[in-house]
């Protein structure tokens, strides 16, 4: 063996420190291991009642095929090769119930003021072409009138679930009421808003939380003049 001429405690300490650093990096950062293992193509509808008050958001989230295959396994209870809404009902309930913990991945601002939600309703799941879609209505605590501008963001701040608004024109719609609103959609990772002329309300709408996940946020602004 080669013997080092130096036996200084300093070198030993350095080696120890190096080793500790390596271990700390590889070991303790394990708290941060995660996978964006769920991909969701989202659609949402801003729901008004007949008085023109906003009552909630109707979500429609389509999951990626691998994840869909995973969660529906064993659920075709009558073995007819078709997953009916009845067979998927327990799963739909379970998944919407769990969403409160994640604040429904939804940030909603009306006239710049953040809103609270009531328990989701009318949840159901459909299965088509290998994809599961979860539909549910996310009601506001109580209907809000005098709507000028609605800001809607759909995202997971931890990026465990990767939300993307579908690339069609019906990604964000309005339903009910007779309000004629203009809808502007900004999709995840395409946050180029510099070209537009913006009101203060608009900025107010955008600065929801300064989490990194916001880079992946999908934003819609519904302006009802």
């Amino acid at each position: 063996m080669i013997r080092s001429p130096t036996r200084s405690p300093g070198l030993k300490a350095a080696a120890l420190a190096l080793f500790m650093a390596v271990i700390a990096v590889f070991g303790f950062s394990n708290a941060a291991s995660a996978h964006p293992h769920v991909f969701v193509s989202a659609k949402a509808s801003v729901v008004f009642n007949s008085d023109g008050e906003m009552t909630g958001v109707r979500h429609s989230w389509t999951f990626d095929k691998p994840y869909s295959a995973y969660i529906v396994q064993g659920l075709d209870t009558n073995n007819d090769g078709v997953l009916s809404e009845e067979e998927l009902a327990p799963l739909a309930r379970e998944n919407t119930e769990g969403l409160a913990e994640f604040e429904y991945f939804t940030v909603l601002k009306i006239n710049g003021k953040e809103q609270k939600f009531d328990t989701p309703r009318e949840e159901r799941m459909t299965f088509a072409d290998g994809n599961v879609t979860l539909h549910f209505l996310l009601p506001l605590k109580k209907p809000v009138g005098a709507i000028r501008i609605v800001g809607l963001e759909i995202y997971d701040p931890t990026y465990f679930v990767a939300f993307n608004l579908v690339n069609t024109d019906d990604a964000i719609t309005t339903a009910g009421g007779s309000r004629n609103c203009a809808i502007t959609v900004t999709r995840a990772k395409q946050a180029d808003i510099s070209q537009q002329s913006l009101s203060e309300d608009f900025f107010e709408t955008l600065t929801a939380k300064s989490d990194f996940g916001l880079q992946f946020a999908n934003r819609a602004v519904v302006a009802c003049p």
């Binding site: 036996r7 291991s33 996978h35 990626d64 880079q215």
Partner: protein, 341 residues
């Protein structure tokens, strides 16, 4: 008679001092790790969160820039795996691209943080100087992980046709078991290395070490080769279990997806390709660990100098205590999480 009494007292004292040394080492390492964690993430880390949509549990995602990059790339690999499974369904000969992506996913995925690499590298620093054994452990742990995933899906999904909820709860039980193995391994290693440290210090002070302290580890006399070898392989098996028992939820999802497309056999092959990729990355880390240990030994100037021997014993105890702290922190994380649900 008095001699026997005397020796049992000494024996008990030795056990106690060994326990104290091991406990102190674990506390110290826990403190250092907490400090490092606090320096890296000054704001308290959120306890592992519940995961939406009833997936198998995983720790919370990082919210730093680098973490987001890794997540983004993992997402792309996941998408690529999905695409290649669908492509294979279209065209039965497109197996190679699937294996290719599975392999790359394994290499990349293992580069992210995970407890398996921590366990393996700390064990290697504490006990091993043989690169070959280090690499063998990495390969075995990665293959074990693949075998666990394939067995789970074969039995639960193919044979029993259980629901995702059942599969998740079984995965969680396996996870708890694997964290318990890590903790046990760490405690056992700490106990041995505490004994070794005490013996080395005794030798240094001119006291003849108690053979009991040496039983599980060699200090300066090479123990009978045969016993040592059996013990080593048994230890290595423990490390493989600690590092590789918990299946990756990504592999489970892809296997179930392949099954749903009628391509289970290809899914199994892709999982094995993933394991090979994982083994390559963990091997690089294991090589670093073995290199670090040899460097430390070299800096300490071999085993002739008494203080150098103590330095090495301290280093080994540190690594052993780290495994214990890692196991305990994983268990605590689980405990917090279960408590919060």
């Amino acid at each position: 008679m008095s001699g026997i009494l005397h020796s049992t007292t000494t024996r008990r004292q030795r056990v106690i001092s060994r326990l104290i040394v091991a406990a102190l080492a674990i506390l110290l390492i826990a403190g250092i790790c907490a400090l490092i964690a606090w320096l890296l993430w000054p704001t308290p880390i959120r306890p592992p969160q519940k995961i939406p949509f009833g997936l198998a549990r995983e720790a919370a995602a990082p919210t730093s820039g680098f973490g987001s990059l890794i997540l983004n790339m993992q997402g792309q690999f996941y998408k690529a795996l999905e695409t290649s499974i669908l492509a294979l369904k279209e065209n039965g000969t497109a197996l190679w691209p699937l294996l290719d992506i599975g392999f790359a996913y394994g290499v990349f995925h293992a580069a992210g943080p995970g407890h398996g690499k921590g366990v393996i590298s700390a064990y290697l620093v504490a006990n091993e100087r043989s690169l070959f054994k280090g690499l063998a452990v990495c390969l075995a742990a990665a293959l074990l992980q693949a075998v666990v995933a394939v067995s789970l899906v074969s039995i639960l999904a193919v044979m029993l046709r259980v629901t995702a909820a059942t599969m998740n709860s079984l995965t969680n039980i396996i996870e708890i078991a694997s964290f318990a193995i890590v903790t046990l391994l760490g405690l056992l290693m700490s106990w041995r290395k505490a004994g070794k440290l005490i013996a080395v210090v005794d030798v240094n002070r001119g006291i003849r070490p108690d053979p009991a302290d040496l039983l599980c580890d060699h200090v300066h006399l090479p123990p009978p080769d045969e016993i040592d070898r059996i013990g080593k392989w048994r230890d290595l098996a423990g490390v493989v279990l600690a590092a590789g028992t918990r299946p990756c939820s990504g592999a489970l999802i892809m296997l179930v997806f392949a099954l749903s497309q009628g391509l289970f056999a290809s899914g199994v092959l892709a999982t094995l390709a993933m394991a090979l990729g994982t083994a390559i990355t963990t091997s690089i880390i294991a090589m670093l660990a073995v290199f670090a240990k040899n460097l430390a030994l070299r800096l300490a100037g071999g085993r002739s100098s008494a203080s150098a021997a103590i330095g090495i014993a301290v280093l080994e105890l540190t690594a052993a205590a780290f495994v214990a702290v890692l196991g305990l922190s994983l268990m605590t994380g689980l405990w917090i999480e279960i408590g919060s649900t």
